[in-house]
Symmetry: C2
Subunit: 163 residues, 2 copies
C-alpha cells in the first residue's frame, strides 16, 4: 500500500502559513506607528494600509473554508475594495493590531477543527462542476495562495524598517 502523506501535507501548508504570519508579526512589532504611516515607496501603499489589507484578507478566508462569515467586513471595504488614501475612516494602528491577533486566533481555532478530508474539499468560490475537473481548488489551496499573497506584502512592509 502506498504511503499516505495527507496529514503531513496539510501540516506543511499550515506551517508555512504560520511561519509567514510569525514573520509578519515580527515586522509589525519592529515598526513604530510613524514608520507604519509612511508609504513603502513614493506614491505606493502605506504600511497601515498593508496591515489592514492583510487582516482583511485573512478575515475573508473563513467564508471560503465554510467556517462562518467575515468578522470585519468593514475592513475588507476599506483595505481591499478601496485603494489607499480614498478618504474614508481608517481604524487606528492599535485597533488593526488587535484585529490581526483576533483573526489569527480564529484561524488557529478553525484549522485545529478541520479534518484532512475537509481541507481537500472544495472551497466555496469554486463550483462543484469545476472542482471535479480541478480538485486542487480546495480549501487547503486557499491557504497556500494566501501565504504567497502575505509574503508578497511582507517584502514591501520590510522596506519601512529603515525609513
Amino acid at each position: 500500500m502506498e504511503k499516505n502523506y495527507n496529514q503531513l501535507a496539510v501540516k506543511m501548508v499550515l506551517n508555512e502559513w504560520d511561519r509567514q504570519n510569525a514573520f509578519f508579526k515580527r515586522i509589525i512589532d519592529s515598526l513604530t506607528d510613524e514608520q507604519l504611516a509612511k508609504q513603502i515607496s513614493p506614491g505606493r501603499n502605506t504600511g497601515v494600509y498593508l496591515l489592514g489589507h492583510l487582516v482583511a484578507i485573512t478575515d475573508s478566508i473563513f467564508p471560503l473554508l465554510e467556517a462562518g462569515s467575515k468578522e470585519y467586513p468593514e475592513l475588507y471595504e476599506t483595505f481591499v475594495d478601496k485603494p489607499d488614501g480614498s478618504g474614508g475612516p481608517v481604524p487606528t494602528i492599535a485597533d488593526l493590531k488587535s484585529k490581526l491577533s483576533a483573526v489569527n486566533a480564529r484561524m488557529e481555532k478553525v484549522s485545529a477543527a478541520m479534518t484532512t478530508d475537509a481541507w481537500f474539499s472544495r472551497h466555496t468560490s469554486v463550483s462543484a462542476e469545476d472542482f471535479q475537473k480541478e480538485p486542487h481548488r480546495n480549501k487547503l489551496n486557499i491557504i497556500l495562495n494566501r501565504t504567497s499573497h502575505m509574503s508578497y506584502h511582507l517584502g514591501q512592509l520590510a522596506l519601512l524598517q529603515k525609513q
Copy 2:
C-alpha cells in the same frame, strides 16, 4: 480506506511555485533595463540584484533535491553571499534573464521526474535523525519555502513598475 491526496498535494505546491514564477516573468518582462537597474526603495536592493538573487536561489534548490549541483555557483556568490553593490563583476540583465529561463526549465524537468515518495523524502540539508522527528522537512517543503521567498521579493520588484 482513507482517501489518498499525495499526488494532489504535490501538484498544489508545484502549481503555486509555477504561478509565482509566471508572475515573476510578467513583472520582469514589464520592466525596462533602466527600471531594473534602480533600487526598489532608496538605499535598498536594485531590481538587477533581486533578479540575480532569485535565479541563484532556484539554482541552489537542485542539490537539496538530490538533483545535481548548482549550474551557476558564481551567481550564488554574487547575489546571495554578497550584498548588492559589493563591487564584483555583475552579469548583464540579458544574461540573467537567460539563466532564469534555464533554471526554470531545469526545475520543470527535475519536477516531472520526481515521484511522490521522493518529494516527501528528506532534503539534503536535514539529518536523518532530525528528519525522523520532523518529517515535514522534506523536498516538497523546500519548494513551499522558496515560493514564499520568491513572493516576498516579487512584492519588491513590482515597486519598480511605476518608477
